[in-house]
């Protein structure tokens, strides 16, 4: 018997809400939005955690400039607190080394981190999903019941193709869908909003493409001063309701 599954519930007992940022497609801004959302909530006085579940390509630590030092351990391991956000990433352990993990191994890594991480009391834990509809997405559904999924999309037919599949799958499984957000919006058009409507889930608004985002990555202070962040802050407000 795997003892870890029995420990998860207690480890998360102080977490009031879990929001997973997904969308199945890669490169649509899941990680930057997840990080900015965490930061916005923390700025607003919420107790926030950020859990990077993209184990083979972790980036949350880069976006928040968290570095890759080991977490401290005592009765478990403590997330790093970066700009007010309690963060956990496999990169804190693997550093720069690539860690190729097959799906079953990613599941094991997730269970291990869930069993030992001391999130403490959080208003919200933001979960940054890897792309695809694979092990980690299924594991979140299975091991973190009640998690609300927020899906990102961009106005590209290849992205919409993937988001449509994700919406259909999550809808069938019956997990709560917080809503759909359009990211990297450039001009008119309402492809992403239309997708949300036809799937019968809330459209939560859009985040503009911001050419200034790149130079703000790695620095929470600069990140807060981008137009991108203004939009995410509004999104955070809407998600509070």
């Amino acid at each position: 018997m795997d003892p870890r599954a029995a420990a998860i519930e207690d480890r998360l007992a102080g977490v009031r809400r879990i929001v997973a940022v997904g969308g199945s497609k890669g490169g649509i801004g899941k990680s930057v939005v997840a990080a900015a959302l965490s930061l916005a909530w923390a700025d607003g006085g919420r107790r926030v955690g950020l859990f990077d579940l993209d184990f083979t390509s972790p980036t949350g630590h880069v976006i928040l400039g968290a570095g890759t030092r080991f977490p401290s351990e005592e009765f478990g391991i403590d997330p790093h607190v970066v700009a007010g956000v309690a963060m956990m990433s496999v990169a804190f352990f693997s550093g720069e080394a690539p860690a190729p993990l097959r799906g079953g191994e990613a599941t094991n890594a997730l269970l291990e981190l869930l069993a030992i991480t001391r999130w403490g009391n959080l208003d919200v834990l933001v979960v940054d999903l890897p792309p695809g509809l694979g092990d980690t997405t299924l594991d979140v559904v299975r091991f973190l019941p009640g998690t609300g999924f927020m899906l990102l999309g961009t106005a590209s037919i290849v992205v919409l193709e993937s988001v449509r599949r994700a919406l259909r799958l999550l809808g069938e499984v019956g997990v709560p869908i917080v809503g759909v957000v359009e990211n990297m919006r450039r001009d008119g058009g309402d492809l992403v909003e239309g997708l949300a409507r036809s799937a019968g889930v809330p459209f939560l608004g859009s985040v503009p493409y911001d050419a200034g985002l790149e130079s703000a990555l790695g620095n929470p202070g600069r990140l807060r001063r981008t137009g991108f962040f203004d939009a995410v802050r509004r999104l955070a407000g809407r998600l509070d309701g």
């Binding site: 018997m1 391991i77 352990f93």
Partner: protein, 144 residues
């Protein structure tokens, strides 16, 4: 000292398994500890035996038996089975620490001695498993 958290998980799992098996008083909890994770056995056993059991009356007076299990890797590319003894130089402190927390990170640091691949399975000796519990009211064989 995250050994405490691992021991805590074992204790919770033992209580849950006892309830499911209709056991009223647990007499023994058998735990398998894989060597890959390099857990500090003294701390782990101290947590298991001294700190945690009072948390549930089901475990009062229970014995904890810790069995160690050697690591067996099997390469998916060349088929070679190997253990930690086959790995040439010992891992650095940071590498050992990473694997201590997340045994899967062996894939970041261990390479097949036959062909150099990181694409191996960990067949045995990974981490902490609740092997079985014994007690009054029924026996529960370990299940996956």
């Amino acid at each position: 000292m995250h050994e405490f958290a691992l021991a805590d998980a074992v204790v919770k799992a033992a209580v849950r398994a006892a309830r499911e098996a209709g056991i009223d008083r647990v007499e023994a909890v058998v735990v398998r500890v894989g060597e890959l994770q390099q857990i500090a056995t003294d701390l782990f056993e101290f947590s298991l035996t001294q700190v945690l059991p009072p948390s549930d009356p089901l475990l009062e007076g229970a014995r904890f038996v810790v069995e160690r299990e050697a690591v067996v890797f099997r390469c998916r590319v060349c088929g070679r089975e190997f253990g930690t003894g086959d790995l040439g130089e010992a891992p650095g402190a940071d590498e050992a620490e990473a694997v201590h927390f997340i045994p899967e990170l062996a894939h970041a640091f261990v390479r097949c001695p036959g062909c150099g691949s990181p694409d191996f399975d960990i067949l045995a000796g990974r981490g902490v498993t609740l092997e079985r519990i014994e007690g009054r009211g029924g026996d529960l064989p370990g299940s996956p």
